[in-house]
Protein backbone atom coordinates (compact mmCIF):
# COMPACT_ATOMS: atom_id res chain seq x y z
CA UNK A 1 0.00 0.00 0.00
CA UNK A 2 1.61 3.27 -1.08
CA UNK A 3 0.66 6.91 -1.07
CA UNK A 4 2.15 9.57 -3.34
CA UNK A 5 3.70 11.24 -0.30
CA UNK A 6 6.24 8.41 0.01
CA UNK A 7 4.36 6.58 2.71
CA UNK A 8 4.22 2.87 2.21
CA UNK A 9 2.88 0.11 4.41
CA UNK A 10 3.42 -3.52 3.73
CA UNK A 11 0.35 -5.61 4.36
CA UNK A 12 0.07 -9.25 3.56
CA UNK A 13 -3.47 -9.78 2.23
CA UNK A 14 -3.62 -13.29 3.61
CA UNK A 15 -2.52 -12.20 7.09
CA UNK A 16 -5.03 -9.35 6.95
CA UNK A 17 -7.84 -11.78 6.08
CA UNK A 18 -6.80 -14.06 8.94
CA UNK A 19 -6.82 -11.16 11.38
CA UNK A 20 -10.27 -10.00 10.28
CA UNK A 21 -11.70 -13.53 10.47
CA UNK A 22 -10.16 -14.16 13.90
CA UNK A 23 -11.51 -10.87 15.22
CA UNK A 24 -14.94 -11.82 13.90
CA UNK A 25 -14.64 -15.24 15.54
CA UNK A 26 -13.55 -13.69 18.85
CA UNK A 27 -16.43 -11.22 18.68
CA UNK A 28 -18.96 -13.95 17.86
CA UNK A 29 -17.67 -16.18 20.66
CA UNK A 30 -17.86 -13.19 22.99
CA UNK A 31 -21.48 -12.47 22.10
CA UNK A 32 -22.37 -16.15 22.46
CA UNK A 33 -20.59 -16.23 25.82
CA UNK A 34 -22.57 -13.22 27.07
CA UNK A 35 -25.79 -14.95 26.08
CA UNK A 36 -24.82 -18.18 27.87
CA UNK A 37 -25.62 -18.90 31.48
CA UNK A 38 -28.53 -19.43 33.84
CA UNK A 39 -30.36 -16.57 32.15
CA UNK A 40 -29.99 -17.22 28.43
CA UNK A 41 -30.13 -14.21 26.13
CA UNK A 42 -30.37 -14.48 22.32
CA UNK A 43 -27.48 -13.00 20.36
CA UNK A 44 -29.67 -10.29 18.80
CA UNK A 45 -30.73 -9.11 22.26
CA UNK A 46 -27.11 -9.16 23.44
CA UNK A 47 -26.07 -6.93 20.56
CA UNK A 48 -29.01 -4.57 21.16
CA UNK A 49 -28.18 -4.35 24.85
CA UNK A 50 -24.49 -3.72 24.14
CA UNK A 51 -25.59 -0.85 21.92
CA UNK A 52 -27.53 0.52 24.89
CA UNK A 53 -31.05 -0.42 23.84
CA UNK A 54 -31.84 -3.37 26.10
CA UNK A 55 -34.25 -3.70 29.00
CA UNK A 56 -33.00 -2.80 32.46
CA UNK A 57 -32.82 -6.49 33.37
CA UNK A 58 -30.84 -7.37 30.25
CA UNK A 59 -28.64 -4.34 30.74
CA UNK A 60 -27.71 -5.52 34.23
CA UNK A 61 -26.93 -9.07 33.16
CA UNK A 62 -25.06 -8.13 30.01
CA UNK A 63 -23.17 -4.97 30.88
CA UNK A 64 -22.61 -5.47 34.59
CA UNK A 65 -22.23 -9.22 35.00
CA UNK A 66 -21.07 -10.80 31.80
CA UNK A 67 -19.43 -8.18 29.59
CA UNK A 68 -16.48 -7.60 31.96
CA UNK A 69 -15.90 -11.32 32.14
CA UNK A 70 -15.80 -11.58 28.36
CA UNK A 71 -13.56 -8.55 28.10
CA UNK A 72 -11.15 -10.03 30.64
CA UNK A 73 -11.22 -13.22 28.59
CA UNK A 74 -10.45 -11.37 25.36
CA UNK A 75 -7.67 -9.33 26.94
CA UNK A 76 -6.10 -12.30 28.73
CA UNK A 77 -6.23 -14.35 25.52
CA UNK A 78 -4.77 -11.48 23.51
CA UNK A 79 -1.97 -10.89 26.04
CA UNK A 80 -1.11 -14.58 26.14
CA UNK A 81 -1.17 -14.86 22.35
CA UNK A 82 1.05 -11.83 21.90
CA UNK A 83 3.37 -12.74 24.78
CA UNK A 84 3.70 -16.28 23.46
CA UNK A 85 4.49 -15.05 19.95
CA UNK A 86 7.19 -12.74 21.33
CA UNK A 87 8.77 -15.50 23.42
CA UNK A 88 8.71 -18.02 20.61
CA UNK A 89 10.19 -15.57 18.15
CA UNK A 90 13.00 -14.38 20.42
CA UNK A 91 13.90 -17.93 21.49
CA UNK A 92 13.42 -19.14 17.89
CA UNK A 93 11.66 -22.11 19.38
CA UNK A 94 7.98 -23.12 19.28
CA UNK A 95 8.37 -24.45 22.84
CA UNK A 96 9.58 -21.13 24.19
CA UNK A 97 6.29 -20.01 25.65
CA UNK A 98 5.43 -18.61 29.09
CA UNK A 99 3.77 -21.83 30.30
CA UNK A 100 6.68 -24.05 29.34
CA UNK A 101 9.21 -21.55 30.69
CA UNK A 102 7.66 -21.44 34.15
CA UNK A 103 6.38 -17.87 34.09
CA UNK A 104 2.83 -19.01 34.78
CA UNK A 105 4.12 -21.24 37.58
CA UNK A 106 6.02 -18.26 38.96
CA UNK A 107 2.83 -16.21 39.00
CA UNK A 108 1.03 -19.10 40.69
CA UNK A 109 3.69 -19.33 43.38
CA UNK A 110 3.41 -15.56 43.90
CA UNK A 111 -0.36 -15.79 44.23
CA UNK A 112 -0.15 -18.74 46.64
CA UNK A 113 2.28 -16.86 48.88
CA UNK A 114 -0.36 -14.15 49.23
CA UNK A 115 -3.27 -16.59 49.66
CA UNK A 116 -1.63 -19.02 52.06
CA UNK A 117 0.85 -16.99 54.06
CA UNK A 118 -0.96 -13.64 54.10
CA UNK A 119 -4.62 -14.57 53.49
CA UNK A 120 -4.69 -11.52 51.24
CA UNK A 121 -7.59 -9.96 49.36
CA UNK A 122 -8.29 -10.59 45.68
CA UNK A 123 -6.42 -7.44 44.69
CA UNK A 124 -3.41 -8.52 46.76
CA UNK A 125 -3.47 -11.94 45.13
CA UNK A 126 -3.36 -10.23 41.74
CA UNK A 127 -0.35 -8.19 42.83
CA UNK A 128 1.30 -11.31 44.22
CA UNK A 129 0.82 -13.13 40.91
CA UNK A 130 2.21 -10.17 39.00
CA UNK A 131 5.27 -9.99 41.24
CA UNK A 132 5.82 -13.75 41.03
CA UNK A 133 5.69 -13.67 37.24
CA UNK A 134 8.08 -10.74 36.97
CA UNK A 135 10.54 -12.25 39.45
CA UNK A 136 10.51 -15.53 37.52
CA UNK A 137 11.08 -13.67 34.27
CA UNK A 138 14.06 -11.95 35.85
CA UNK A 139 15.43 -15.26 37.15
CA UNK A 140 15.15 -16.91 33.72
CA UNK A 141 16.83 -13.92 32.16
CA UNK A 142 19.71 -14.09 34.63
CA UNK A 143 20.16 -17.84 34.22
CA UNK A 144 19.67 -18.28 30.48
CA UNK A 145 20.98 -15.09 29.02
CA UNK A 146 24.57 -15.25 27.98
CA UNK A 147 25.25 -13.70 24.61
CA UNK A 148 21.60 -14.12 23.73
CA UNK A 149 19.51 -17.25 23.80
CA UNK A 150 20.49 -20.22 21.72
CA UNK A 151 18.48 -23.26 20.78
CA UNK A 152 17.02 -25.09 23.70
CA UNK A 153 18.94 -23.29 26.41
CA UNK A 154 16.07 -20.97 27.31
CA UNK A 155 13.59 -23.85 27.23
CA UNK A 156 15.77 -26.07 29.41
CA UNK A 157 16.37 -23.33 31.98
CA UNK A 158 12.65 -22.56 31.84
CA UNK A 159 11.72 -26.17 32.50
CA UNK A 160 14.04 -26.15 35.51
CA UNK A 161 12.50 -22.94 36.84
CA UNK A 162 9.05 -24.37 36.15
CA UNK A 163 9.85 -27.42 38.30
CA UNK A 164 11.15 -25.27 41.15
CA UNK A 165 8.09 -23.03 41.09
CA UNK A 166 5.79 -26.05 41.04
CA UNK A 167 7.62 -27.35 44.10
CA UNK A 168 7.17 -24.01 45.88
CA UNK A 169 3.44 -24.05 45.09
CA UNK A 170 3.14 -27.65 46.27
CA UNK A 171 4.88 -26.83 49.54
CA UNK A 172 2.62 -23.83 50.14
CA UNK A 173 -0.47 -25.98 49.51
CA UNK A 174 0.59 -28.51 52.13
CA UNK A 175 0.99 -25.67 54.64
CA UNK A 176 -2.41 -24.16 53.87
CA UNK A 177 -5.59 -24.71 55.89
CA UNK A 178 -8.63 -26.04 54.08
CA UNK A 179 -10.25 -22.70 53.19
CA UNK A 180 -7.05 -21.21 51.81
CA UNK A 181 -6.20 -24.43 49.98
CA UNK A 182 -9.60 -24.46 48.25
CA UNK A 183 -9.18 -20.85 47.24
CA UNK A 184 -5.67 -21.58 45.98
CA UNK A 185 -6.72 -24.57 43.90
CA UNK A 186 -9.56 -22.62 42.30
CA UNK A 187 -7.13 -19.85 41.44
CA UNK A 188 -4.62 -22.34 40.05
CA UNK A 189 -6.94 -23.82 37.43
CA UNK A 190 -7.35 -20.49 35.68
CA UNK A 191 -10.86 -19.20 35.49
CA UNK A 192 -12.84 -16.25 34.25
CA UNK A 193 -15.63 -16.71 36.78
CA UNK A 194 -16.57 -13.59 38.71
CA UNK A 195 -14.28 -11.23 36.79
CA UNK A 196 -15.59 -7.67 36.79
CA UNK A 197 -14.63 -4.21 35.62
CA UNK A 198 -11.88 -3.98 38.26
CA UNK A 199 -9.91 -6.58 36.33
CA UNK A 200 -10.67 -5.06 32.94
CA UNK A 201 -9.16 -1.60 33.36
CA UNK A 202 -5.59 -2.43 34.47
CA UNK A 203 -5.29 -5.11 31.81
CA UNK A 204 -6.68 -2.82 29.12
CA UNK A 205 -4.31 -0.06 30.22
CA UNK A 206 -1.30 -2.34 30.07
CA UNK A 207 -2.23 -3.65 26.64
CA UNK A 208 -2.79 -0.09 25.41
CA UNK A 209 0.76 0.84 26.44
CA UNK A 210 2.56 -2.35 25.42
CA UNK A 211 0.88 -3.11 22.10
CA UNK A 212 2.13 0.01 20.25
CA UNK A 213 5.57 -0.42 21.84
CA UNK A 214 5.76 -4.03 20.65
CA UNK A 215 4.45 -3.30 17.17
CA UNK A 216 6.95 -0.48 16.63
CA UNK A 217 9.74 -2.98 17.34
CA UNK A 218 8.18 -5.84 15.40
CA UNK A 219 10.25 -5.20 12.27
CA UNK A 220 13.44 -5.43 14.30
CA UNK A 221 12.19 -8.70 15.76
CA UNK A 222 11.64 -10.06 12.26
CA UNK A 223 15.29 -9.30 11.46
CA UNK A 224 16.36 -10.99 14.71
CA UNK A 225 14.89 -14.26 13.50
CA UNK A 226 17.78 -14.51 11.03
CA UNK A 227 20.34 -14.50 13.82
CA UNK A 228 21.95 -11.76 15.88
CA UNK A 229 24.74 -11.12 13.38
CA UNK A 230 22.45 -10.48 10.43
CA UNK A 231 20.16 -8.32 12.55
CA UNK A 232 23.17 -6.34 13.72
CA UNK A 233 24.43 -5.98 10.18
CA UNK A 234 21.03 -4.64 9.11
CA UNK A 235 21.18 -1.94 11.74
CA UNK A 236 18.92 -3.42 14.42
CA UNK A 237 20.02 -2.51 17.94
CA UNK A 238 19.81 -6.14 18.92
CA UNK A 239 20.26 -5.98 22.69
CA UNK A 240 17.86 -3.08 23.12
CA UNK A 241 15.11 -4.47 20.93
CA UNK A 242 15.34 -7.91 22.50
CA UNK A 243 15.35 -6.67 26.09
CA UNK A 244 12.42 -4.37 25.41
CA UNK A 245 10.36 -7.11 23.78
CA UNK A 246 11.20 -9.67 26.46
CA UNK A 247 10.18 -7.30 29.24
CA UNK A 248 6.93 -6.61 27.36
CA UNK A 249 6.29 -10.32 26.93
CA UNK A 250 6.93 -11.04 30.61
CA UNK A 251 4.61 -8.18 31.62
CA UNK A 252 1.88 -9.42 29.29
CA UNK A 253 2.11 -13.00 30.52
CA UNK A 254 2.28 -11.98 34.18
CA UNK A 255 -0.66 -9.57 33.87
CA UNK A 256 -2.76 -12.16 32.06
CA UNK A 257 -2.02 -14.76 34.72
CA UNK A 258 -2.71 -12.26 37.49
CA UNK A 259 -6.11 -11.53 36.00
CA UNK A 260 -7.34 -15.03 35.20
CA UNK A 261 -4.97 -17.45 36.88
CA UNK A 262 -2.59 -19.67 34.90
CA UNK A 263 -4.72 -20.39 31.83
CA UNK A 264 -2.49 -22.98 30.26
CA UNK A 265 -1.33 -23.49 26.69
CA UNK A 266 -2.94 -20.48 25.02
CA UNK A 267 0.44 -18.77 24.76
CA UNK A 268 1.95 -21.96 23.38
CA UNK A 269 -0.69 -22.75 20.77
CA UNK A 270 -1.99 -19.38 19.57
CA UNK A 271 1.18 -18.27 17.73
CA UNK A 272 1.61 -21.66 16.06
CA UNK A 273 -2.00 -21.84 14.94
CA UNK A 274 -1.87 -18.25 13.68
CA UNK A 275 1.26 -19.00 11.76
CA UNK A 276 -0.29 -22.01 10.08
CA UNK A 277 -3.21 -19.85 9.00
CA UNK A 278 -1.18 -16.93 7.66
CA UNK A 279 1.51 -19.22 6.21
CA UNK A 280 3.89 -16.35 6.64
CA UNK A 281 7.31 -16.46 8.32
CA UNK A 282 8.08 -13.87 10.93
CA UNK A 283 6.60 -13.33 14.33
CA UNK A 284 2.94 -12.96 13.21
CA UNK A 285 2.29 -10.79 16.25
CA UNK A 286 -1.15 -9.41 15.45
CA UNK A 287 -2.58 -12.69 14.14
CA UNK A 288 -1.29 -14.44 17.30
CA UNK A 289 -2.92 -11.81 19.48
CA UNK A 290 -6.28 -12.25 17.72
CA UNK A 291 -5.92 -16.02 17.82
CA UNK A 292 -5.26 -15.95 21.57
CA UNK A 293 -8.34 -13.84 22.22
CA UNK A 294 -10.55 -16.01 20.02
CA UNK A 295 -9.18 -19.26 21.51
CA UNK A 296 -9.69 -18.27 25.12
CA UNK A 297 -13.21 -16.91 24.74
CA UNK A 298 -14.22 -19.84 22.55
CA UNK A 299 -12.81 -22.28 25.13
CA UNK A 300 -14.73 -20.53 27.92
CA UNK A 301 -17.93 -20.62 25.88
CA UNK A 302 -17.41 -24.29 25.05
CA UNK A 303 -16.89 -25.21 28.70
CA UNK A 304 -20.04 -23.34 29.76
CA UNK A 305 -22.10 -24.87 26.97
CA UNK A 306 -20.96 -28.37 27.71
CA UNK A 307 -20.86 -28.33 31.52
CA UNK A 308 -23.15 -25.48 32.57
CA UNK A 309 -22.35 -22.06 34.00
CA UNK A 310 -19.08 -21.91 35.94
CA UNK A 311 -18.82 -25.65 36.38
CA UNK A 312 -15.58 -26.12 34.51
CA UNK A 313 -12.92 -23.37 34.63
CA UNK A 314 -11.61 -22.32 31.23
CA UNK A 315 -8.06 -23.31 32.22
CA UNK A 316 -9.10 -26.96 32.28
CA UNK A 317 -10.42 -26.77 28.71
CA UNK A 318 -7.36 -25.00 27.33
CA UNK A 319 -5.19 -27.41 29.32
CA UNK A 320 -6.79 -30.48 27.75
CA UNK A 321 -6.69 -29.05 24.21
CA UNK A 322 -3.22 -27.59 24.67
CA UNK A 323 -1.85 -30.80 26.15
CA UNK A 324 -2.84 -32.69 23.04
CA UNK A 325 -1.25 -29.99 20.92
CA UNK A 326 1.97 -30.06 22.97
CA UNK A 327 2.29 -33.82 22.48
CA UNK A 328 1.77 -33.42 18.75
CA UNK A 329 4.37 -30.65 18.67
CA UNK A 330 6.92 -32.77 20.55
CA UNK A 331 6.37 -35.66 18.17
CA UNK A 332 6.78 -33.55 15.03
CA UNK A 333 9.80 -31.70 16.45
CA UNK A 334 11.34 -35.05 17.23
CA UNK A 335 10.64 -36.31 13.72
CA UNK A 336 12.24 -33.19 12.32
CA UNK A 337 15.28 -34.02 14.45
CA UNK A 338 15.18 -30.80 16.44
CA UNK A 339 14.92 -32.45 19.86
Amino acid sequence: MRTPGGLSLRLDPRALTVVVLLLAAAGAAGVALIGTGDAKIPAADVLRTLAGNGTAYQDFIVNELRLPRVLVGLLVGASLGLGGALFQSVSRNPLGSPDVLGLSQGSTAGALVVIVLMSGSAAEVTLGALAGGLATGLAIYALAWKQGVHGYRLVLVGIGVNAMMTAVSGYLLTKADLVDATRAVVWMTGSLAGRDWEQVWPLLGLCAVLLPLVLVNARGLRMLEMGDDIANALGVRVQRVRLLLMVSAVLLAAAATAAAGPVSFVALTAPQLARRLTRSPGPNLVPSLCMGAALLVAADWASQRAFGADQLPVGVVTGVLGGVYLLWLLVTERRAGRI
Binding site: S8, R10, R92, M226, G227, G235
Partner: protein, 282 residues
Protein backbone atom coordinates in the same frame (compact mmCIF):
# COMPACT_ATOMS: atom_id res chain seq x y z
CA UNK B 1 47.85 -3.27 -12.68
CA UNK B 2 46.10 -3.92 -9.44
CA UNK B 3 49.26 -3.00 -7.55
CA UNK B 4 49.46 0.52 -8.98
CA UNK B 5 45.72 0.85 -8.52
CA UNK B 6 46.13 0.20 -4.83
CA UNK B 7 49.11 2.50 -4.54
CA UNK B 8 47.20 5.38 -6.10
CA UNK B 9 44.46 4.96 -3.54
CA UNK B 10 46.91 4.82 -0.70
CA UNK B 11 48.57 8.06 -1.66
CA UNK B 12 45.32 10.02 -1.99
CA UNK B 13 42.41 10.36 0.40
CA UNK B 14 41.95 8.55 3.70
CA UNK B 15 40.27 5.18 3.26
CA UNK B 16 36.67 4.80 4.35
CA UNK B 17 37.22 1.83 6.66
CA UNK B 18 40.15 1.26 8.98
CA UNK B 19 41.07 -0.12 12.37
CA UNK B 20 43.32 2.02 14.55
CA UNK B 21 45.44 0.30 17.19
CA UNK B 22 42.62 -2.00 18.20
CA UNK B 23 42.87 -4.60 20.93
CA UNK B 24 40.37 -7.39 20.29
CA UNK B 25 39.32 -9.78 23.01
CA UNK B 26 36.49 -12.14 23.89
CA UNK B 27 35.91 -11.76 27.62
CA UNK B 28 39.49 -12.06 28.92
CA UNK B 29 40.99 -13.90 25.94
CA UNK B 30 42.99 -11.42 23.88
CA UNK B 31 43.01 -12.21 20.15
CA UNK B 32 44.94 -9.22 18.86
CA UNK B 33 46.71 -6.23 20.34
CA UNK B 34 47.60 -2.88 18.80
CA UNK B 35 46.34 -4.02 15.42
CA UNK B 36 46.01 -1.43 12.69
CA UNK B 37 44.50 -2.21 9.31
CA UNK B 38 43.46 -0.07 6.37
CA UNK B 39 40.90 -1.32 3.87
CA UNK B 40 41.81 0.40 0.56
CA UNK B 41 38.74 1.93 -1.10
CA UNK B 42 37.41 0.04 -4.13
CA UNK B 43 39.61 -2.95 -3.36
CA UNK B 44 38.68 -6.60 -3.05
CA UNK B 45 40.57 -7.16 0.19
CA UNK B 46 41.03 -10.69 1.42
CA UNK B 47 42.22 -11.52 4.93
CA UNK B 48 44.11 -14.80 5.25
CA UNK B 49 45.96 -16.59 8.01
CA UNK B 50 46.02 -19.87 9.92
CA UNK B 51 43.15 -20.92 12.18
CA UNK B 52 42.74 -18.75 15.26
CA UNK B 53 44.92 -15.97 13.85
CA UNK B 54 42.13 -13.49 14.47
CA UNK B 55 40.90 -12.98 10.91
CA UNK B 56 37.23 -13.49 11.65
CA UNK B 57 37.63 -11.50 14.84
CA UNK B 58 39.09 -8.62 12.85
CA UNK B 59 36.15 -8.79 10.44
CA UNK B 60 33.72 -8.72 13.37
CA UNK B 61 35.45 -5.65 14.73
CA UNK B 62 35.38 -3.93 11.32
CA UNK B 63 31.64 -4.57 11.13
CA UNK B 64 31.07 -3.34 14.73
CA UNK B 65 29.91 -6.79 15.95
CA UNK B 66 32.80 -6.77 18.38
CA UNK B 67 33.70 -3.68 20.35
CA UNK B 68 37.48 -3.27 20.59
CA UNK B 69 38.65 -3.07 24.20
CA UNK B 70 41.19 -0.47 23.08
CA UNK B 71 41.54 1.59 19.93
CA UNK B 72 38.76 2.19 17.46
CA UNK B 73 37.38 1.27 14.08
CA UNK B 74 36.81 4.25 11.82
CA UNK B 75 34.15 4.43 9.14
CA UNK B 76 34.26 7.62 7.07
CA UNK B 77 36.36 9.24 9.78
CA UNK B 78 33.96 8.45 12.63
CA UNK B 79 34.24 5.86 15.36
CA UNK B 80 31.92 3.10 14.13
CA UNK B 81 30.60 2.27 17.61
CA UNK B 82 29.27 5.78 18.13
CA UNK B 83 27.40 5.97 14.81
CA UNK B 84 23.65 5.31 14.53
CA UNK B 85 23.10 1.62 13.78
CA UNK B 86 20.99 2.17 10.67
CA UNK B 87 23.43 4.69 9.25
CA UNK B 88 26.25 2.16 9.53
CA UNK B 89 23.98 -0.46 7.96
CA UNK B 90 23.48 1.77 4.92
CA UNK B 91 27.25 2.07 4.42
CA UNK B 92 28.61 -1.29 5.46
CA UNK B 93 27.07 -4.69 4.91
CA UNK B 94 28.11 -7.99 6.46
CA UNK B 95 27.48 -11.55 5.49
CA UNK B 96 28.20 -13.52 8.67
CA UNK B 97 29.33 -17.14 8.75
CA UNK B 98 26.13 -18.42 10.22
CA UNK B 99 22.69 -17.10 9.56
CA UNK B 100 19.28 -18.64 9.99
CA UNK B 101 16.65 -18.64 7.27
CA UNK B 102 13.30 -18.45 9.10
CA UNK B 103 11.00 -21.43 8.46
CA UNK B 104 8.91 -21.10 5.35
CA UNK B 105 10.48 -17.92 3.99
CA UNK B 106 10.71 -17.36 0.24
CA UNK B 107 13.80 -16.17 -1.57
CA UNK B 108 12.23 -12.83 -2.50
CA UNK B 109 11.08 -12.25 1.06
CA UNK B 110 14.53 -13.00 2.48
CA UNK B 111 16.29 -10.75 -0.02
CA UNK B 112 13.71 -8.05 0.76
CA UNK B 113 14.78 -8.05 4.38
CA UNK B 114 18.08 -6.56 3.26
CA UNK B 115 16.14 -3.34 2.72
CA UNK B 116 15.56 -2.89 6.45
CA UNK B 117 18.10 -0.08 7.01
CA UNK B 118 16.44 1.93 4.23
CA UNK B 119 12.98 1.56 5.66
CA UNK B 120 11.06 3.10 8.50
CA UNK B 121 7.79 2.64 10.30
CA UNK B 122 5.89 4.66 7.70
CA UNK B 123 8.02 3.74 4.75
CA UNK B 124 7.92 -0.03 4.79
CA UNK B 125 8.09 -0.97 1.14
CA UNK B 126 8.76 1.60 -1.58
CA UNK B 127 8.99 1.15 -5.32
CA UNK B 128 12.73 1.63 -4.89
CA UNK B 129 12.86 -1.31 -2.47
CA UNK B 130 11.09 -3.49 -5.02
CA UNK B 131 13.46 -2.43 -7.78
CA UNK B 132 16.62 -3.03 -5.71
CA UNK B 133 15.41 -6.48 -4.61
CA UNK B 134 14.75 -7.52 -8.21
CA UNK B 135 18.13 -6.13 -9.26
CA UNK B 136 19.97 -7.94 -6.45
CA UNK B 137 18.33 -11.24 -7.30
CA UNK B 138 19.19 -10.77 -10.96
CA UNK B 139 22.84 -10.00 -10.21
CA UNK B 140 23.24 -13.09 -8.09
CA UNK B 141 21.32 -15.29 -10.53
CA UNK B 142 18.52 -16.22 -8.13
CA UNK B 143 15.74 -14.25 -9.82
CA UNK B 144 14.08 -17.39 -11.13
CA UNK B 145 14.07 -18.83 -7.60
CA UNK B 146 12.20 -15.80 -6.20
CA UNK B 147 9.08 -17.68 -5.10
CA UNK B 148 10.89 -20.83 -3.89
CA UNK B 149 11.39 -21.56 -0.20
CA UNK B 150 14.92 -21.00 1.03
CA UNK B 151 14.92 -24.34 2.92
CA UNK B 152 14.54 -26.20 -0.39
CA UNK B 153 17.63 -24.74 -2.05
CA UNK B 154 21.09 -26.28 -2.39
CA UNK B 155 23.97 -24.88 -0.35
CA UNK B 156 25.35 -22.93 -3.29
CA UNK B 157 21.99 -21.42 -4.17
CA UNK B 158 21.36 -20.52 -0.56
CA UNK B 159 24.67 -18.69 -0.28
CA UNK B 160 23.76 -16.70 -3.40
CA UNK B 161 20.46 -15.76 -1.79
CA UNK B 162 22.24 -14.50 1.32
CA UNK B 163 24.64 -12.52 -0.86
CA UNK B 164 21.61 -11.10 -2.70
CA UNK B 165 20.21 -10.03 0.66
CA UNK B 166 23.46 -8.27 1.53
CA UNK B 167 23.45 -6.60 -1.91
CA UNK B 168 19.91 -5.35 -1.41
CA UNK B 169 21.31 -3.41 1.51
CA UNK B 170 23.09 -1.33 -1.17
CA UNK B 171 26.19 -0.62 0.84
CA UNK B 172 29.38 0.66 -0.78
CA UNK B 173 31.31 -1.63 1.60
CA UNK B 174 30.55 -5.32 1.92
CA UNK B 175 32.20 -7.68 4.40
CA UNK B 176 32.02 -11.45 3.93
CA UNK B 177 33.05 -13.95 6.59
CA UNK B 178 34.22 -17.14 4.87
CA UNK B 179 31.58 -17.02 2.14
CA UNK B 180 32.79 -20.26 0.54
CA UNK B 181 32.82 -22.52 3.61
CA UNK B 182 30.78 -25.73 3.27
CA UNK B 183 30.43 -25.28 -0.49
CA UNK B 184 31.58 -27.66 -3.23
CA UNK B 185 34.50 -26.47 -5.32
CA UNK B 186 32.34 -25.35 -8.25
CA UNK B 187 30.10 -23.34 -5.93
CA UNK B 188 33.15 -21.87 -4.20
CA UNK B 189 34.43 -20.56 -7.52
CA UNK B 190 30.92 -19.47 -8.40
CA UNK B 191 30.63 -17.34 -5.27
CA UNK B 192 34.12 -15.88 -5.70
CA UNK B 193 33.41 -15.04 -9.35
CA UNK B 194 30.28 -13.27 -8.20
CA UNK B 195 32.30 -11.28 -5.64
CA UNK B 196 34.89 -10.33 -8.25
CA UNK B 197 32.13 -9.21 -10.57
CA UNK B 198 30.49 -7.08 -7.91
CA UNK B 199 33.84 -5.50 -7.19
CA UNK B 200 34.73 -4.84 -10.83
CA UNK B 201 31.41 -3.72 -12.27
CA UNK B 202 29.94 -1.86 -9.33
CA UNK B 203 33.05 -0.54 -7.65
CA UNK B 204 32.01 -1.87 -4.27
CA UNK B 205 34.72 -2.34 -1.67
CA UNK B 206 34.74 -5.99 -0.65
CA UNK B 207 36.44 -7.47 2.39
CA UNK B 208 36.41 -11.25 2.73
CA UNK B 209 37.93 -13.76 5.08
CA UNK B 210 38.98 -16.83 3.08
CA UNK B 211 40.50 -20.12 4.11
CA UNK B 212 41.99 -21.07 0.78
CA UNK B 213 45.21 -19.17 0.12
CA UNK B 214 45.09 -19.91 -3.61
CA UNK B 215 41.58 -18.53 -3.90
CA UNK B 216 42.72 -15.48 -1.98
CA UNK B 217 45.75 -14.97 -4.24
CA UNK B 218 43.66 -15.34 -7.36
CA UNK B 219 40.75 -13.07 -6.48
CA UNK B 220 42.10 -10.46 -4.07
CA UNK B 221 43.37 -7.08 -5.23
CA UNK B 222 44.68 -6.51 -1.72
CA UNK B 223 45.79 -9.24 0.63
CA UNK B 224 46.25 -9.03 4.39
CA UNK B 225 48.17 -11.92 5.98
CA UNK B 226 47.60 -12.30 9.70
CA UNK B 227 49.31 -14.49 12.25
CA UNK B 228 48.70 -14.41 15.97
CA UNK B 229 46.75 -11.18 15.68
CA UNK B 230 49.53 -9.35 13.85
CA UNK B 231 49.69 -8.27 10.23
CA UNK B 232 52.67 -10.07 8.71
CA UNK B 233 52.28 -8.64 5.22
CA UNK B 234 49.80 -6.71 3.13
CA UNK B 235 49.62 -5.67 -0.49
CA UNK B 236 48.79 -7.02 -3.91
CA UNK B 237 49.11 -10.83 -4.02
CA UNK B 238 51.71 -10.61 -6.82
CA UNK B 239 53.90 -8.44 -4.61
CA UNK B 240 53.67 -10.23 -1.31
CA UNK B 241 52.93 -13.94 -1.79
CA UNK B 242 56.27 -15.74 -1.64
CA UNK B 243 57.40 -19.10 -0.29
CA UNK B 244 58.99 -17.26 2.64
CA UNK B 245 55.77 -15.48 3.53
CA UNK B 246 53.72 -18.68 3.41
CA UNK B 247 56.24 -20.37 5.66
CA UNK B 248 56.21 -17.46 8.07
CA UNK B 249 52.44 -17.14 8.23
CA UNK B 250 51.31 -20.76 7.94
CA UNK B 251 54.50 -22.62 8.91
CA UNK B 252 54.32 -24.57 5.65
CA UNK B 253 57.14 -25.23 3.20
CA UNK B 254 56.00 -24.70 -0.34
CA UNK B 255 56.76 -23.45 -3.80
CA UNK B 256 55.04 -20.43 -5.22
CA UNK B 257 54.53 -20.66 -8.96
CA UNK B 258 52.51 -18.65 -11.46
CA UNK B 259 48.91 -19.72 -11.78
CA UNK B 260 48.74 -20.99 -15.38
CA UNK B 261 45.24 -19.51 -15.76
CA UNK B 262 45.64 -16.06 -14.26
CA UNK B 263 49.35 -15.48 -13.62
CA UNK B 264 48.62 -14.86 -9.94
CA UNK B 265 50.72 -16.66 -7.30
CA UNK B 266 49.85 -20.32 -6.78
CA UNK B 267 50.97 -22.00 -3.60
CA UNK B 268 52.07 -25.62 -3.98
CA UNK B 269 52.87 -27.28 -0.67
CA UNK B 270 56.17 -29.17 -0.61
CA UNK B 271 55.91 -32.96 -0.77
CA UNK B 272 55.88 -34.78 2.53
CA UNK B 273 59.32 -36.32 1.89
CA UNK B 274 60.90 -32.97 1.10
CA UNK B 275 59.44 -31.41 4.21
CA UNK B 276 60.71 -34.30 6.34
CA UNK B 277 64.25 -34.07 4.86
CA UNK B 278 64.43 -30.35 5.41
CA UNK B 279 63.22 -30.77 8.94
CA UNK B 280 66.03 -33.21 9.78
CA UNK B 281 68.59 -31.02 7.99
CA UNK B 282 67.51 -28.09 10.11
Amino acid sequence: MSGTHTNNLRSTAVNRLSAENVTLAYDQRVIAEQLSVEIPDNSFTVIVGPNACGKSTLLRALSRMLKPSHGRVLLDGQAIQSMPAKKVARTLGLLPQSSIAPDGITVADLVGRGRYPHQGLLRQWSAEDERVVQESMRQTGVAELAERYVDELSGGQRQRVWIAMALAQQTPLLLLDEPTTYLDIQHQIDVLDLCAELHETQGRTLVAVLHDLNHAARYATHLIALRGGTVIAEGAPNDIVTAELVEEVFGLRCQVIDDPETGTPLVVPAARKVRAERATAA
